[in-house]
Amino acid sequence: MPRTYEAVYIFDSTLEDTAIQEKLARFHELLSLSPETTTVDNWGRRQLAYPIGTRENGYYTVARFEAEPAALPEYERALKLDDGVMRYLITLHEHEVGAPPSAEGEGDEERPRASDDDDDDED
């Protein structure tokens, strides 16, 4: 069963925009994403709150997608090996701030179950 994930990438800001988009496309290919369930939000270059190594800036990209959990390890490996990615964070997607309470109630479909998330479940 596919689950909705949200990934934030911090690319090296010295890379060309086209190179970044190319990398992004390559990563997303590994997940075989369908375009309908995928949204990519490029924040662009932004100052880091603290230097990472010698870098003061990073190119932020937020992607939301539905993917099979089994496809994640390979994708994550590619992220780790890529020197152009300074940092990344993959999380299970939750609703946006200010999103109105939806009808799905407490029995959230995204509740971590039998997975390696150790988020504490609410009572």
Binding site: L48, E94, H95
Partner: protein, 73 residues
Amino acid sequence: MRRPQKSCPFCESRVRFIDYKDDRTIGRFLTDTGKILPSRLSGVCARHQRQLSTAVKRARYLALIPYIRGHQA
């Protein structure tokens, strides 16, 4: 004497999930040095305080907010 109950700012604005990418909002719940503000001072309810704590840690990792502020190495 009991302190009057503060109401949770997240509950008041009907936030269900705190967004770790929203550094502006998260920044309001940090001290000047960048620590997480205790809920006893901010009035955040337990559920949102737990979410806030996770959100702050994620935001720190992503260099959206600093781990420590005002520290010169």
